[in-house]
């Protein structure tokens, strides 16, 4: 349905999108995940024909977006990061305008009523957009994308700035849309893509670092590696006991103190669950664990975990993984290695400054 080949976008000397290739099948919901400034919005803007890539090819349902922009744009409904609303129009006027603009052929009244019903804005159709709440504005933006019943729907950060209840509603809506349309959505929240998407494409610094089915990513992410643990006992001895355990990569006593309990931050090896072992080790020595808190994974952790996990899968299955485009392994490894090194460097710098401080 959507095919992106070797897409590059430079802003002057700044490379926003660096040789991205992926494709989306008809009826798929694909999540585009990445930290801020990773190139998500740029990619989406190129997909919808708002911007043009520096080089590379984008085609929607076989139609090249540069060769026949109008034909390709007809197939796409797009909700940009900031919904493009005319604040002085009423919702009805706005949707009618979108209908005219897209040169829609469907019966006007029924189609608009249906769209309003789907996004639940029927009761505000006569109101001026300026006076609507943020959640309703977002929904009007989604309604606009749905007008004309396009085959492909693209959402750029659809749940940003919404309250938790609205977020859940929008996610449910997207999942419903996925039944009849091809959907791409971008976000920097992992839970969001996990909840909604069939497939996740992770992008960082303009490059694709992972392209996996959601279940694989979820599996990789389940094994949380970093914990804050609160243990009663002499801090030096506890720390050395923790460090001597196998599977622990990093441990550190935090300044926090609660009676005779200290808080330690520990980081386990990839794919190793150290919690049980930690409990028994501490119990043996008579130190009570009074708190254990999993720390959220940063996107960087997820990249590393996912890349690591997929390499593991490959060895175990000893057959090609489900990844769509081959020849990316080397790149992924490279990126992962760079990230690990970067982390190590940061840590080294932090340690160095600490030592200096002590002196």
């Amino acid at each position: 349905m959507i095919k992106i080949e070797h897409l590059v976008k430079n802003y002057g000397s700044n490379c926003a999108v660096d040789d991205i290739s992926f494709s989306v099948e008809s009826g798929e919901i694909v999540g585009f995940l990445g930290p801020n400034g990773a190139g998500k919005s740029t990619t989406m803007n190129i997909l919808t024909g708002y911007l043009s890539g520096t080089s590379g090819k984008v085609s929607i349902d076989g139609i090249d977006i540069l060769a026949d922009p109008l034909g390709a744009k007809k197939l796409i409904g797009y909700l940009p990061e900031q919904p493009p609303l005319y604040l002085d129009m009423t919702v009805d006027e706005y949707l009618n305008f979108a209908y005219d603009l897209k040169g829609c052929k469907l019966p006007r009244a029924e189609h608009l009523a249906e769209v309003c019903e789907v996004v639940k804005i029927t009761d505000v159709r006569k109101r001026v957009i300026r006076n609507l709440s943020k959640g309703y504005k977002q929904r009007v933006g989604i309604a606009q994308a749905l007008v004309g019943n396009p085959k492909v729907i693209i959402f750029d950060e659809p749940t940003i700035g919404l309250d938790p209840k609205q977020i859940i509603e929008i996610r449910n809506l997207i999942r419903t849309l996925g039944k009849g349309h091809t959907v791409i959505l971008s976000t920097h929240i992992l839970q969001e893509v996990q909840a909604v998407c069939d497939r996740i494409v992770i992008i960082n610094k303009g490059k694709i670092v992972a392209d996996e089915l959601t279940e694989n990513i979820s599996r990789a992410v389940e094994n949380n590696r970093r914990f804050n643990v609160k243990i009663c006992g002499p801090s030096r001895e506890v720390l050395s006991a923790i460090k001597s355990m196998s599977g622990i990569v990093y441990a550190e006593a935090l300044a926090e103190r609660d009676g005779d309990a200290y808080t330690y931050m520990i980081e386990s090896d990839y794919g190793v669950d150290v919690r049980k072992k930690l409990f028994y080790t501490m119990a043996e020595r008579g130190w009570a664990i009074i708190g254990l808190e999993a720390l959220g994974m940063s996107l960087e952790d997820i990249f590393i975990t996912v890349v690591d996990k997929s390499a593991e899968d490959k060895i175990r299955q000893s057959k090609p993984t489900r990844r769509r485009s081959g020849g990316k392994d080397a790149l992924e490894k490279q990126v992962a290695e760079a990230m690990v090194q970067e982390g190590a460097q940061k840590r080294a710098i932090a340690d160095a400054t600490e030592i200096e401080d002590e002196e």
Binding site: Y11, N45, T48, G49, Y50, L51, S52, P69, L70, G71, K73, K74, I76, Y78, P80, Q82, P84, L85, Y86, L87, D88, M89, E93, F97, A98, D100, L101, K102, G103, Q144
Partner: protein, 248 residues
């Protein structure tokens, strides 16, 4: 294109800007018409039209300042640019909407001539002989109207182009005012210069000097071509601005 045209027309009248434009247009045209003809007891309308061109310096930017600047600020241009509409038809839709409002205001302001014609017919009735023409020359009035419409179209195209360059409406308005003012004042520069060659060149560029032929009641094709090509060039540049932004 029709969708954008309709939307622009509607937004002129949802916002106060359309009413402000029409109101100020009618007031200025009525006052100018009154003072240049009835008060100064003259049937010659060419001064009126000449002064109207100066009024456009303020009036046209009101029409054009928000055309693209507002879209860009509200990010609604993303909707237009990702819709199956070409950039050319987007620009034309907006330009034609502004031109329609301008043209219809101009048409309505023609009621200013009714009292002049009425005076003329009374005066004609009281005269016993019909050898001289009394009253405004209708051919000249129509020629001036066509000329002024063409000048308006050229100014609107300039304003449209400037609006596409910025996302600040006020900046767009101020720049448009100064550009149009400069173009209008260019012909006054002529009186200060002795060199014939320079005068000829300035005369060639001047908006007003071409209008003179219209005010004699002559229909000048080279002037028509001049105004139309001015309009075309600036609309073309507006399209290029948007093309360029896509690739930027």
């Amino acid at each position: 294109m029709l969708a954008i045209y309709k939307k622009e027309m509607r937004s002129y009248f949802i916002n106060p800007i359309g009413y402000v434009f029409a109101g100020v247009f009618f007031i200025i045209s009525a006052l100018l018409c009154c003072y240049t003809t009835i008060v100064s007891s003259s049937y010659d309308t060419s001064t009126y039209f000449m002064l109207m061109i100066f009024a456009f310096v303020i009036l046209i930017p009101l029409l054009t300042m928000r055309l693209f600047a507002e879209e860009r600020k509200l990010r609604t241009e993303q909707l237009l640019m990702t819709a199956p509409v070409s950039i050319t038809s987007m620009v034309m839709g907006k330009f034609l909407a502004a031109l329609t409002l301008f043209g219809s205001s101009l048409l309505v302001s023609c009621i200013n001539f009714i009292p002049i014609y009425a005076f003329a017919s009374i005066e004609r009735g009281s005269e016993s002989y019909n050898t001289t023409h009394i009253g405004p020359v209708t051919g000249q009035v129509i020629g001036c109207l066509v000329g002024i419409l063409l000048i308006g179209a050229a100014f609107i195209a300039i304003g449209t182009f400037i609006s596409a360059l910025t996302e600040n409406q006020l900046a767009a308005a101020v720049i448009t005012i100064s550009v149009i003012l400069g173009m209008v004042l260019l012909s006054f520069l002529n009186t200060l210069i002795d060199n014939y060659v320079i005068r000829f060149v300035i005369d060639w560029f001047s908006v007003l000097s071409r209008f003179n032929t219209f005010s004699y009641g002559l229909f000048d094709f080279s002037a028509l071509l001049y105004y139309l090509s001015l309009t075309f060039v600036f609309l073309f540049l507006t399209v290029r601005v948007y093309e360029k932004r896509r690739w930027g």
